[in-house]
């Protein structure tokens, strides 16, 4: 927002007591490496004025500190600042923090419980005064107050939201935000940002759906006239609509009433001479011989990465079949495995198989990658030298059965020696 008389940045009133003091970055095209933005973004920071002091909620990226301080100075003096709240410590929201702390040394810093080590790493100071807060903690500004909601992993461990009940306003951090730069600032006046809102969710919040749902349990009961996120339009027109959309996007979509206990297993393979394919088909048949597993078989050559990522998100188990070419798994397998950071893979069951010509490294390499992605890989991968024999296909069938049983929790209790694990 620019004052038409002197071109100086000015604060924008969201109410008599709440102001936007952020900055616009219309030239940004790529954010955090993983996101594109066609018209830049905004770094939204806010000021709340109570009868007994002022609170600053979040700051801006370092290069935009000038706009932030200029806007702040149009509505408050630094000596009035009693409280600084950091809902999220990522540098695009804390870039102006060191200078703000220098200008308002009396202000008390409030961060989430999980932000403590991160704050020290960010500011590189040992002696720091701050107050870690959790859900239920409050700070009074006289006739306005701040209530904290512990909403971790949205999208860093440190994230929290801050609610001002007297204003029915939620300062939500990155939640409900998007990379969309529009100086008209409010959702009822800005251009159409629906795509940006959903795109932001898909890349930033999607891996943390379980945490989104936990946060919504805290947010949904609130009376909300306005949601003030740290990026993109401020949501004052039907704010609850965005809360509902988050709920919709975070619910699992594959579950059925008729097969509530069924588990889903996906088998992806790629094959140059049909040998890994024959293994895949035998494993597929083995899985199908166990009731209660919904299994699908996909040739990576016949699909694109993005829809497979969607399938993987809702699956309970993933198998990858890859030949070994020049000592490595093949590129389509790595392409899929390098595209999974947008979904939560923790505790999914993983397994690997493949035919090879002479050394067969691919299976072990992909197993290590699956463990790195936080899948559990309890059954050692299956490797077959060149063309699988009938006996080896029977082994594949058993491999499929065992994985299905593992997925259903049907494998019996076992006692093994550590040496068995380390010798393979």
């Amino acid at each position: 927002m620019v004052d038409s008389d002197n071109n100086a940045p000015a604060a924008v009133a969201l109410s008599e007591r709440v102001y936007w003091i952020g900055a616009f970055d219309p030239d940004l095209r790529s954010f955090d490496i993983i996101l594109k933005t066609a018209n830049g973004t905004s770094y939204n920071a806010y000021l709340v004025r109570g009868s007994e002091g002022v609170a600053i909620i979040d700051t801006v990226k370092e290069g935009f500190a000038g706009d932030f301080f200029a806007r702040l100075e149009t509505v408050a003096d630094y000596a009035e600042i009693k409280v600084i709240v950091l809902n999220h410590l990522e540098p695009d929201h804390t870039g102006a923090l060191p200078e703000l702390m220098r200008r308002a040394p009396q202000a008390q810093l409030f961060i989430s419980q999980k932000a403590q080590t991160m704050l020290k790493a960010l500011l590189k100071r040992d002696k720091l005064n701050f107050t870690p807060v959790l859900t239920g903690d409050k700070v009074s500004l006289g006739d306005r107050s701040l209530e904290f909601l512990h909403t971790p992993y949205l999208h860093w461990p440190d994230t929290q939201c801050t609610y001002v009940p007297e204003e029915k306003t939620l300062f939500s951090g990155d939640v409900f935000g998007c990379h969309f730069c529009d100086t008209r600032l409010f959702n009822d006046e800005a251009g159409d940002f629906r795509f940006s809102f959903e795109y932001y969710y898909a890349h930033i919040m999607r891996p943390f759906k379980d945490y989104v749902i936990r946060a919504l349990e805290l947010i949904e009961p609130l009376q909300l006239d306005l949601i003030a996120p740290t990026h993109g339009p401020i949501l004052r027109d039907r704010p609850k609509r965005y809360v509902r959309r988050y709920r919709e996007m975070s619910q699992p979509s594959l579950s059925t009433d008729k097969q509530a206990k069924a588990r889903t297993l996906l088998i992806f393979y790629i094959s140059s001479y049909g040998n890994t394919r024959r293994m895949a088909e035998a494993i597929y048949a083995g899985v199908m011989s166990v009731a209660g597993v919904r299994v699908s078989l996909y040739d990576l050559e016949g699909g694109e990465v993005s829809p497979f990522v969607d399938l993987i998100e809702d699956a309970d188990g993933l198998l990858f079949g890859t030949p070994t070419i020049n000592g490595d798994a093949v590129k389509p397998v790595w392409d899929l495995l390098s595209s999974l950071t947008v979904v939560n893979l923790k505790n999914k069951l993983g397994g690997v198989f493949g035919s090879y010509g002479w050394s067969g490294e691919a299976v072990r390499l992909v197993e290590d990658r699956l463990r790195g992605l936080k899948l559990r890989v309890p059954i050692q991968g299956l490797r077959v030298k060149l063309i699988p024999t009938e006996e080896e296909l029977e082994q594949c069938h058993r491999f499929g059965r065992e994985l299905a049983q593992e997925l259903l929790g049907l494998r019996e209790a076992r006692v093994i020696d550590f040496a068995e694990l380390t010798s393979s």
Binding site: Q113, P157, K374, I379, A413, V415, L421
Partner: protein
């Protein structure tokens, strides 16, 4: 070498290990549901619940205690990347 038994409750597997083994060395190989991030006691990703035999693990270091506290870990929660098995029988599961 003295032996110990560690049971991973989520997958129903008990592994007989040499005393001094860290839980991380076993749990990944056996396919238990404990997951790892930094693997050096800093991030708290591998917090596990020790359901039995917690006294058979090495005492948590000052650093581990701090990470557990900041992650609001419950009683008998430990970092699987730090805890070493001293002997006897212990049972663990993802926290």
């Amino acid at each position: 070498m003295a032996k110990a038994n560690v049971t991973f409750e989520d997958i129903n597997i008990t592994v007989s290990v040499p005393a001094g083994t860290r839980v991380i060395e076993v749990s990944e190989k056996v396919g238990a549901g404990i997951t790892y991030g930094c693997r050096e006691g800093d991030c708290g990703t591998c917090i596990m619940k020790v359901t039995d035999g917690w006294q058979h693990l090495t005492e948590p270091s000052v650093l581990e205690d701090k990470v557990l506290r900041e992650n609001m870990a419950g009683k008998h929660n430990r970092l699987a990347c730090q805890a070493q098995i001293l002997g006897g029988n212990i049972s663990v599961k993802p926290a």
